[in-house]
């Protein structure tokens, strides 16, 4: 399984980014190879509109199975993610990546 996180950094101890569309980084953890892939999404801050679908598209290119985030995506982004068949879990906005991953493994996160 490939698990995606919206993050403010690029390692296990980095805080999650509660926002989806304007998340600073997209991190994808591959449970088979135990490695991270990362996407620097910071350029999105200059977009006045459409951050959600654009970030969803960036995430789609990384082919995750699951997304763990904070507040949850907005309507447009949710439409894209639904088409991409990515399962979404929310409510991890105030955790670190590691805490968010543990919470996900223990079924403590809410499905979007």
């Amino acid at each position: 399984m490939k698990i995606a996180f919206t993050a403010k950094g690029t390692d296990w101890d980095a805080p999650m980014d509660a926002r989806f569309g304007r998340a600073e980084y997209l991190l994808v953890y591959d449970e088979d190879t135990k490695t991270f892939a990362q996407f620097d999404n910071r350029a999105i801050k200059d977009a006045a509109h459409g951050a959600g679908p654009q970030t969803a598209q960036n995430l789609f290119e990384m082919h995750p199975d699951v997304l763990i985030t904070g507040n949850g995506p907005g309507g447009n982004a949710a439409t894209v993610l639904e088409k991409a068949g990515i399962k979404i879990y929310i409510g991890a906005g105030d955790k670190t990546i590691k805490e968010a991953y543990t919470a996900y493994q223990n079924n403590q996160l809410k499905e979007f």
């Binding site: 509109h49 459409g50 951050a51 654009q54 598209q57 789609f60 447009n76």
Partner: protein, 287 residues
């Protein structure tokens, strides 16, 4: 003669001033009042006219023709607004994000994205004696007010001769919809309230009007509440204060019943007269 009534802060009296000034001026000649606050038009609550005309307004949106598409992805690359997204083997279009720039449609090598009209709102015109009232209403869920404001302005320009006084009730704030609503005005009235919040947003509106090189003045509504900082600011910035509308329970009661105020409160009528005299001398008046 085009007069736009704007504010920084919402709820300071744009509609009150627009409707009262329009009806007041319509006692002496023809006036067109246009509600450009298309996201929440409310001037109509104070104008009980007869419906003369109604039309749907459209914007152009690309439509994906799957059988022609080779999934090259150029459409997604050229869209500045992320309104076109290539997802695996399909192209997704987000009409609310689209600015109708035609880039995706024109640059598609397969012509797989023809532009088609999509309803974004409706325009209505009502008449009451000398007063012509035009309002546009954006469809629920539409994000962009500017295209509808632009088309409404075009309608008014096409329907009414130049010499008629035109009053535009503008949206609040200082962003694109306000720029669109005020950019063709000969004079802009900024209406504010004498509170710290009113002053803060007034100063943003003043900066905006200076940037647009507009001739403008300030009307202070609910005068008597808050403090004198707005007056001090206007004096310091050399912005003319055209009128002060008093904070009066009677005015609030008339407003809440959808009635025009100047007909019942002589002081307000006097203030409207001040405003008009000022505009007539500085910006040319009724031509």
């Amino acid at each position: 003669m085009k007069i736009a009534i704007a504010s920084g802060k919402g709820g300071t009296g744009k509609t009150t001033l627009s409707t009262n000034l329009s009806a007041f001026l319509a006692e002496q000649g023809k006036v067109v009042l246009t509600d450009l606050d298309v996201e929440e038009p409310n001037s109509g609550l104070f104008v009980n006219g007869t419906l003369q005309h109604a039309e749907d307004k459209f914007k152009m949106i690309p439509e994906w023709e799957q059988e022609k598409c080779t999934l090259c992805g150029i459409c997604q690359e050229v869209c500045n607004y992320h309104a076109v997204i290539k997802m695996a083997d399909q192209i997704m279009i987000f009409p609310e994000l689209c600015h109708s720039c035609y880039a995706c449609s024109e640059l598609c090598p397969e012509e797989a994205l023809p532009m088609i009209p999509q309803k974004m709102g409706e325009l209505k015109q009502f008449n009451v004696n000398n007063l012509f009232f035009v309002e546009s209403r954006l469809k629920i869920g539409e994000e962009q007010a500017v295209p509808l404001i632009k088309q409404t302005l075009q309608y008014v320009d096409a329907q009414f001769p130049k010499e008629i006084i035109k009053i535009y009730d503008s949206p609040p704030g200082t962003s694109c919809p306000v720029i669109e609503a005020t950019k063709d005005a000969d004079f802009v009235i900024l209406i504010t309230e004498p509170t710290p919040f009113g002053l803060h947003d007034l100063s943003l509106a003043v900066e905006t009007m200076r940037e647009l090189k507009k001739s403008f003045g300030v009307v202070i509504n609910r005068y008597g509440i808050g403090n004198d900082d707005v007056l001090a600011y206007c004096e310091k910035e050399k912005v003319p204060v055209l009128a002060k509308i008093p904070n009066d329970r009677k005015i609030a009661e008339l407003y809440s019943r959808g009635e025009l105020i100047y007909r019942k409160v002589p002081e307000v009528k006097q203030q409207l007269d001040h405003i008009w005299k000022y505009i007539e001398t500085t910006a040319g008046g009724r031509q």
